[in-house]
């Protein structure tokens, strides 16, 4: 039972609210635009942008979305802790346009002119993955200076995938729609070039492979920018533009019409009952999640505040008890759940593998609720076959074809990350709570291991006191590199969420997953026996 009056609950809650406050501040900074650390400079950039009658990317999205549509912004803090601007100069997310859930990718031209750095490329490619895996139409709102040239070495090669992805989406029958509000040149010209539908804004869109200076250099032609790649030219002469928009809202209106006429039908079975709110208050999630991930908490308490009607039909409750498995509903969608209540042993691995197979048999998506410090180690467990048992769980996770959604509510350490469908295992979405920590193992353990290894190497010469600062620095480095912000900055997940929004976010993710077929498999790897 949760005691909201307890000291631990209050401390957890305070820590969570402090972390959420920091995240909201960062998100507000991203949403304000401008991209630099200097608010005055940002204000000037935005004023200049507005003076040209232009909208900010989130305003463009607001025009595009249906009234009242939710918008799940993905990776809003991409680039945190890197040399790239916070948010990576691009907005991605899922929202409803003309009744159709779509992935939207919008350049932020107030951030380095919309130029693409390494984080922008990763964020854009991730949005395309989401569109492809979940069979969601992809809508691009394009206005970009192109490659962030000083970083061209980091992006040129991986960035090329975005054009391939566009045409592969199209080949997979997933519509791609691009609205161009400004510059979309050189490689960027292939964004409209590879899209099914192209809307160009009059006197604003510039789409060409080479701009006037390059043309002058290459073939000594004095080219006029409008004639070279203006919206009117493409709409009337080259045929690259399918629609000529008079201004930004007009382009967005046309975009809505295009999505309307797609007559898009979701292929998943959808929810099988009406949504029912949980019986327990989701607000209590703030105090349930441990601020210190070393302090365990019961995943049942989380599920009771996420699942419809707080109803959880537990499978094998008496066996392998540190891995909780069972069925429930989120916003009417049936789900199977694997949640950690401690370290994974052989029994938990067996239980998890069996449960994943059953979800595949029933075509039910799986939610992985990760709070895992790893698989059990030690002679007894190695001799008991923990590797081959863990392998069964990883086999099941890797080959399962029903949608996986991973929710990080605490620790994600070691091979536990893999067995519980970490990022590398291609879950449809990964969302994290602010208290989330991710690393090969806990910082203290890692520092301790380092110390032991160093001691073994040095033998009697090991100076415990002299090594202490090295150990501490290493521990701090691991700690800093395992935070939720560090992880989200590197696109290891699709965003940090407010725990109180968990049910809504998972519901949107499930709804998105049901845009494509929801089908399990019976084809798994060889089960090591």
């Amino acid at each position: 039972m949760i005691d909201p009056g307890s000291e631990q609950f209050t401390a957890n809650r305070d820590a969570m609210l402090t972390a959420l406050h920091e995240i909201q501040q960062l998100q507000a900074k991203v949403a304000a635009g401008g991209g630099s650390g200097d608010p005055e400079k940002n204000a000037r950039t935005i004023a200049r942008h507005r003076k040209r009658g232009k909208l900010l990317p989130r305003e463009r999205i607001a025009y595009l979305l249906d009234g009242g549509s939710p918008f799940l912004e993905l990776s809003p803090l991409a680039g945190w802790g890197t040399q790239d601007p916070l948010g990576a100069g691009v907005v991605t997310g899922i929202g409803t346009i003309s009744g159709t859930e779509c992935v939207i990718v919008a350049n932020d031209p107030t951030v380095k002119g919309g130029a693409q750095g390494p984080s922008s490329v990763r964020k854009g490619l991730r949005a395309m993955d989401i569109a492809r895996q979940n069979r969601l139409p992809l809508i691009s709102l394009t206005e970009s200076a192109g490659a962030d040239l000083p970083q061209q070495a980091e992006i040129f090669v991986p960035g090329g995938a975005s054009f391939k992805n566009l045409t592969q989406l199209s080949a997979a029958g997933i519509p791609t729609v691009t609205m161009v509000f400004g510059s979309s040149t050189a490689g960027g010209a292939y964004v409209p070039g590879m899209s099914d539908y192209v809307v160009l804004q009059k006197e604003a869109a510039k789409v060409y492979l080479g701009g006037p200076p390059l043309v002058k250099m290459a073939i000594d032609e004095d080219a006029d920018e409008e004639e070279l790649g203006g919206a009117e030219m493409h709409a009337r002469i080259s045929g690259l533009g399918d629609y000529l928009a008079q201004d930004e809202p007009d382009a967005l209106r046309i975009g809505r019409e295009i999505v309307q006429h797609l007559r898009w039908r979701k292929q998943g079975p959808g929810p099988d009952r009406s949504p029912v709110a949980p019986r327990f208050d989701p607000d209590e999630l703030l105090g349930i999640a441990s601020a210190d991930v070393r302090v365990p908490f019961d995943v049942h308490d989380v599920l009771a505040r996420v699942l419809d009607d707080s109803a959880f039909e537990e499978f094998k409750p008496l066996y392998g008890t540190t891995l909780v498995t069972g069925w429930g509903h989120i916003s009417g969608y049936p789900v199977g759940i694997l949640g950690n209540n401690g370290i994974l042993f052989s029994e938990e691995s067996h239980k998890g593998a069996q449960f994943i197979q059953m979800c595949n048999r029933m075509d039910v998506p799986i939610i992985f609720v990760q709070n895992i410090t790893g698989f059990m180690v030690g002679t007894r467990y190695e001799q008991g076959g923990i590797i081959k048992d863990g392998a069964k769980l990883i086999n099941a996770v890797s080959n399962s074809t029903v949608p996986h959604i991973t929710l990080m509510v605490g620790a994600s350490y070691g091979a536990g990350n893999y067995g519980m469908s970490g990022r590398a295992y291609d879950p449809r979405f990964v969302f994290t709570w602010p208290n989330h920590r991710i690393a090969v193992m806990g910082p203290k353990q890692l520092a301790g291991v380092l110390t032991i290894v160093a001691k073994q190497k040095a033998g009697d010469a090991f100076d415990e006191t002299a090594f202490a600062p090295i150990r501490d620095a290493f521990e701090k480095q691991v700690e800093d590199q395992s935070t939720a912000l560090f992880a989200t900055g590197r696109l290891w997940d699709d965003g940090i969420i407010d725990p109180r929004d968990t049910r809504t976010v998972l519901g949107m993710a499930l709804s998105a997953a049901h845009s494509g077929p929801v089908e399990g498999t019976s084809a798994f790897g060889i089960w090591r026996m």
């Binding site: 909201q24 998100q27 507000a28 991203v30 949403a31 507005r50 909208l55 900010l56 989130r58 305003e59 999205i61 607001a62 025009y63 009234g67 009242g68 549509s69 939710p70 918008f71 799940l72 912004e73 809003p76 409803t96 008079q246 201004d247 809202p249 007009d250 967005l252 209106r253 809505r256 929810p271 949504p275 916003s331 009417g332 965003g495 969420i497 407010d498 109180r500 929004d501 809504t504 976010v505 519901g507 949107m508 499930l510 709804s511």
Partner: protein, 623 residues
């Protein structure tokens, strides 16, 4: 005597009631649109006709069911002397004044001459003193009537009045008379029989008018002293006697201070006759039938005594806050029933459709009480609780009038509604803003509430009209509800004012702790009832679909109706405010004007064409 009522709606129902009480079989006539109407079902037998204005058809209907008499009601053929004559020629009884009396009073110009010779005080006419009223000589009910304040507007007003008069009465003669400012409209009910008796049944004051149509009527008039009453009733009786008047008639006057001037004489039963019935206890339809049967008046002047005070209001399907635009729709709820001291005359029941075909009057509600204050208070309370859903009505505006200090003080003049704008939209800002938010009520999705964001960035916005006035709202979802602002100008960049934290349930709206139950009918447009007020709302589209269209942009029709005149052609240069198209809807003339200077690039309607609301009439390229 089998009585056919050549009319529809509440007046037909009202005549049937008395006829049935007296034991006379009743006959209704009905058009296809009225097949299911209350009046069609209220008679012993009903006959289908094409039009309530087709005299031959109605006579044929009378013959088919062997009716003995025809009661014309008011409007339609009630003051048509040719019809009265035709009824008599067909050997039927005409429940109304003689064709000669009707003819004498039908043309106002001639009526004025007659009245003058009977010694009734007259308003000097002439077009050199403004303001003036332009009136149709054959007119009534405000049709064809126009107030003109400046000499330069006179020609246009005369032309419009002629047009309206021609379409309404088939006679485009108009005349101009001085417009009395701050005057009262007071009329005297007279009755004559075939034995030479003429009596009056006191006065009615009908000063509270919109577009020259009465909406509140009462008796006695708070502006008429006993001495003035004596002079006015004497003048009225004298005029009726002078022309040998038979049946129910009304002599209308303008009253300013203790002076009164002849306006016109109506040779029919007036819409507002129930207030007279209330204070005198007499059934005027019963009198009409008896007089038509040749009997003497049932009472002498001395026997006719007035007690207490009666007030009638006319409930219209119209939006007072929006220029009294008629409103159409289905009366989902129509809970307007008679009570002990409240009389309701109506031709509607719940489920009926209010169309643009006929007059949008839904009901007359009449209260009789010992004093004027009591009557007003009672009637206002009745209106506030009366349930009408599905169409916008003037109910709340009427209730506001009845509670308004100037009205209660008897300060009622014909400009009352122009000078008391507060009664038109008795609605507070917080209500208006809260209502706007209702438009998002159904937007909660299956997995996320309306407007949910994981990153708070750009608000949602909503542009709509509530009770005719535009409102732009901006809102963002917070955990506790919707944080709402109103915005001037651009919905995203305009100046915002906080409304507060709004919480919605399907049956209530709460603004910063003020909880109001609401009912809403309709989605993008409809009506909403809150705090006893019923208001029309319409959510405007986020994108102006016509903004960039080469064709299709331009002025649009405000209401469904029929185009009566197209004033411009392709290629014409027009200036802002110029009349482009004239539309008749719900018996009212609406002009559609140019928003800005420009050149007409296309005309999309022609005269006689039926049009929907919001239809583009003319495309104009701005210059």
């Amino acid at each position: 005597m089998k009585i056919l009522v050549a009319n529809r709606g509440e007046i037909a129902c009202r005549v049937f009631r008395t006829a049935a009480r007296l034991g006379h079989p009743t006959v209704a006539v009905f058009t296809e649109a009225d097949r299911g109407a209350l009046h069609t079902r209220s008679a012993d037998v009903a006959v289908a006709i094409e039009s309530y204005l087709d005299q031959e058809e109605i006579l044929r209907a009378a013959q088919r069911v062997a009716a003995d008499a025809i009661h014309p009601g008011y409007g339609f053929l009630s003051e048509n002397p040719d019809f009265a004559q035709a009824v008599l020629d067909a050997g039927l009884t005409w429940i109304g004044p003689t064709p000669d009396s009707i003819r004498a009073m039908a043309l106002k110009v001639e009526a004025k001459n007659l009245a003058e010779s009977a010694g009734v005080p007259m308003l000097t006419s002439g077009a050199d003193v403004f303001p003036v009223l332009v009136k149709a000589s054959a007119g009534g009910g405000g049709k064809g009537m126009r107030r003109v304040d400046r000499p330069e507007d006179l020609d246009e007003a005369v032309a419009a009045a002629k047009r309206e008069a021609a379409s309404a009465f088939g006679d485009d003669t108009v005349f101009v008379e001085r417009y009395l400012e701050r005057a009262r409209h007071v009329e005297v009910q007279v009755f004559g029989d075939t034995h030479g008796n003429v009596v009056h049944l006191f006065e009615r004051e009908c000063s509270i008018q919109r577009r020259h149509q009465k909406v509140v009527e009462e008796s006695p008039s708070p502006g008429v002293t006993a001495e003035l009453r004596d002079r006015m009733t004497a003048a009225a009786v004298s005029l009726a006697a002078e022309i040998g008047y038979v049946g129910a008639g009304t002599v209308e006057f303008m009253v300013a201070g203790d002076e009164f001037f002849f306006l016109e004489m109506n040779t029919r039963l007036q819409v507002e006759h129930p207030v007279t019935e209330a204070i005198t206890g007499r059934d005027l339809v019963e009198w009409q039938i008896q007089v038509a049967q040749g009997e003497p008046l049932p009472a002498t002047q001395a026997e006719i005594i007035a007690t207490g005070h009666a007030i009638e209001v006319r409930l219209y399907a119209e939006d007072p806050a929006n220029g009294y635009l008629p409103n159409t729709g289905t009366l989902r709820v129509f809970d307007v029933a008679a009570e002990d001291d409240v009389r309701v005359d109506t031709g509607f029941v719940a489920g009926d459709v209010v169309t643009a075909n006929y007059d949008p009057m839904l009901a007359k509600v009449i209260v009789h009480a010992p004093s004027r204050d009591q009557a007003a208070t009672r009637l206002a309370a009745y209106l506030r609780k009366a349930g009408i859903e599905g169409v916008v009505t003037n109910k709340d505006s009427l209730a506001a009038v009845l509670s308004e200090p100037d009205f209660l003080a008897g300060q009622t003049t014909t400009d009352y509604l122009d000078t008391h704008a507060s009664v038109l939209a008795p609605i507070q800002d917080h209500v208006r803003h809260a209502l706007g938010v209702l438009a998002v009520r159904d937007q909660d999705g299956p997995v996320a509430p309306a407007g949910w964001r994981n990153v708070a960035a750009v608000p949602e916005w909503l542009q709509l009209t509530v009770a005719g006035s535009p409102v732009t709202l901006r809102w963002m979802r917070e955990r506790a509800g919707l944080r709402v602002q109103t915005v001037e100008g651009d919905p995203l960049l305009g100046e915002a004012t906080d409304v507060g934290l709004v919480r919605l349930t399907p049956t209530s709206v709460e603004v910063d702790g003020v909880l109001m139950p609401v009912t809403v009918v309709g989605e993008d447009h409809g009506v909403v009832t809150v705090e006893g007020l019923t208001l029309a709302f319409e959510v405007l589209p986020r994108f102006d679909e016509n903004a960039h269209a080469a064709e299709g942009g331009g002025p649009t029709t405000p209401v469904p109706g029929t185009v009566t005149d197209v004033r411009v052609g392709e290629g014409d240069e027009v200036s802002a405010g110029q009349i482009l198209v004239v539309l008749e809807a719900m018996k009212m003339e609406h002009t559609i004007t140019a928003d800005a200077d420009g050149v007409v690039t296309a005309v999309h309607v022609r005269a006689g064409q039926a049009v929907d609301a919001h239809q583009v009439v003319v495309s104009i390229e701005e210059v």
